[in-house]
Amino acid sequence: MTKEKINKTALILFLFIAFTIPLFVRSATYLHILILLYFYAYLTTSWNLVGGFAGVLPLGHSVFVGIGAYTSTILSLQYGISPWIGMIAGAFIALILGVIIALPTLKMRGAYFALATIAFGEGIRVMVENINNIGPLNINGPRGIQIPPTNTGFFNFMFAGKEPYYYIILIMLILVLTLTFLISRSKLGYYLNAGGEEPEAAMALGINVAKARLTAMAISSFLTALAGTFYAQFTLYIHPKSVFSLDLSFEIAFIALIGGRGSVAGPIIGALLLRPVSDLSRIYFGSHLPGLHLIIFGAVLILVMLYQPRGLQEPLSRIYNRIIEKKILKTDK
C-alpha cells in the first residue's frame, strides 16, 4: 500500500465518521458543540488565507461574520428574501468592505496591520451598536435582531432539529478546506507565501505582492461572511456583541495560531482542541469560574508559541507520517 493510498483511506474514513456522527450522537448538546466546532474551523480556515498564507495577522475578521449575519437577517425579515440569497449578498458586501479595509492596511507590517484591523473591527461594531436604522433598514442598535422561529424549511434556512445545521456547516467546511487546499497549491498560494516571507525579493521577481494579498483578503472576507449567515440562522439571535465582537476575532486567531497558521490542517486541529475546552468549561465551570476557557487558551497559546511556533499541526503530522512509514515498513517486510 502506498502512502497516498493510506492518506486517501484516512480521509475517506474521516469523512465517513463526520457524516455518520448525527446517527449516533443524539444529544442536542453534543451536536451543538460539534456544530460550533465546525463553524469555528470554517472561520479559521477562511481567516487562514490572509492570516496564514499571506503572513499577516488580521484581528478584525468578526466584522465579516457580522456583515454576513446582519445582511441576510435584515433581508429575510424585512423583505422576505431567502437567507440563502442573503448569504451571497452579505458575502459580496463583506468582500467590498474587505477590499476597502485592505487597501490602506495591507502595506503595513507586523503589529501595525494587526492593530489597524482591530481598529476597523471595533469601529464598525461601535457604529452598529449606535445605529438604529440605516434608511429603511432596521439594525436595532445594541439590542440586536431576533429571528422568529416560525417558518422552518430549507428555503428559509431554518430547521427544528440540529441535524440539518450539522450537515450544512459540515459541507461548508469541506468546501472551504478544498478551496484553501487548491489555493495553497496554486500560483496565488505561492505568491502569498513568497510575499509573506520576503516581500522585496518577491517584488523583484515580478510578483505583485499587494495584488495577491488583496485577492486573498477579498476571498477571505467573502467566505467569512457566508458563515455569518449560518450563525444567524443557527442561533436565531444576533447582536453586535456576538457577531461583531473582538472576542470572536481573537478566538479565530487563537485557533489558527495554536493549530498552525498557513497550513490546511491547522485550523481543524486548533478547533478540535480548543472548542471542546471552551464549551465544556462553560458547561461545567460556567457558574463559578466564568471565562476559565480564556485562561486555558492563553496558557496553551504561550506553551505552543514557545515550543511549537509553527503550531501543533507540525508535530502531529510528523507523528502521523512516522506511524504510516512504520506501517509501510512492516507490510514491506
Partner: protein, 236 residues
C-alpha cells in the same frame, strides 16, 4: 543606442539623497560591474532600476523605452531581473519551488522545464538539493539558488547584488565563474560587488561609485591597474 541607459538620475530615501546625477550605460552582452564601498549607493541604484524605488529626476531607458517610475512587475516583464542582496530565498519552500516561482512571468512561464534544466546544468548542486527546503541549504548553495531563481525569469539583463556576500573564498570563485558563464551564454549582467578584484577581472566594463556618483569608469582590466583603485579598494 544603448541597451540599458541611465541618464542623470537623482534618488532619495525620504529627505536624504543617495544618488546624485548618475549616468551609466550597459550594452547588450556585456558584464558591467559597479564597485564601491559601503553606502556608495550601489544597491540603491539596482533597486531604482528594478522599480522598487523611484528616481525624483532623470531617466532610465531599456531598449529605447522609458522604464523609470514603472511598477516592479512591469520591469520584470521588460526582462530586467534583480537578484537582491542577501539571497532572500523563500525559506519554507523547496529549492525547486523557489526556482519555479522565479518563472512566473509571461515570457518565462511556458519554458519552465527547459530553463530549470539549464539552471541545474549551471549549478549541479541545486539538482541534488531540489526537494530540500531552501532554509536547509548552505550559504553558497543559497546564493546559487537565488541566482538560479533570477535566471528562471529569462532575463535580458540580470542584476546581481553582492552575490559574494558572506561566502568562503572558494565558493566565491564558483559563483564568479558561474556569472561569467551566464554572460557567455548571452545574458547581459549588471553586477554590484564589494569584492573589487574578482568582479573587475570578470567584467567587460566597470563603474566606480563613491557617495552616489560615478567617479571612474573603464574596462575591468584598466581599472585594476588604476592607482586610485589599487590604493582605495585593493589595499596595494
Amino acid at each position: 543606442m544603448s541597451f540599458l541607459k541611465i541618464d542623470k538620475i537623482n534618488v532619495y530615501y525620504g529627505d536624504i539623497q543617495v544618488i546624485f546625477n548618475l549616468s551609466l550605460t550597459v550594452e547588450k552582452g556585456e558584464v558591467v560591474s559597479i564597485v564601491g564601498g559601503n553606502g556608495a549607493g550601489k544597491s540603491t541604484l539596482l533597486r531604482t532600476i528594478s522599480g522598487l524605488l523611484f528616481p525624483t529626476s532623470g531617466q532610465i531607458s531599456f531598449e529605447n523605452q522609458k522604464i523609470n517610475s514603472k511598477q516592479p512587475e512591469k520591469i520584470v516583464d521588460y526582462g530586467i531581473i534583480h537578484v537582491p542582496e542577501g539571497r532572500k530565498l523563500f525559506s519554507l519552500m523547496t529549492v525547486k519551488e523557489n526556482l519555479i516561482i522565479g518563472a512566473y512571468n509571461k515570457r518565462a512561464e511556458t519554458k519552465i522545464a527547459e530553463t530549470i534544466d539549464n539552471v541545474y546544468q549551471l549549478f549541479p548542486r541545486l539538482k541534488e538539493r531540489e526537494n530540500q527546503l531552501a532554509m536547509t541549504l548552505s550559504g553558497g548553495e543559497q546564493q546559487m539558488a537565488a541566482i538560479g531563481r533570477g535566471i528562471m525569469a529569462h532575463p535580458k539583463i540580470l542584476m546581481l547584488d553582492e552575490p559574494s556576500l558572506g561566502l568562503a573564498p572558494i565558493l566565491m570563485k564558483d559563483i564568479f565563474a558561474a556569472i561569467r558563464k551566464i554572460a557567455d551564454l548571452g545574458t547581459t549582467v549588471l553586477l554590484v560587488e564589494q569584492d573589487v578584484k574578482n568582479s573587475l577581472s570578470l567584467s567587460d566594463r566597470a563603474y566606480v561609485l563613491e557617495h552616489g556618483q560615478v567617479v571612474m569608469e573603464g574596462s575591468g582590466k584598466e581599472l585594476l591597474k588604476n592607482p586610485h583603485i589599487k590604493e582605495a579598494y585593493l589595499g596595494m
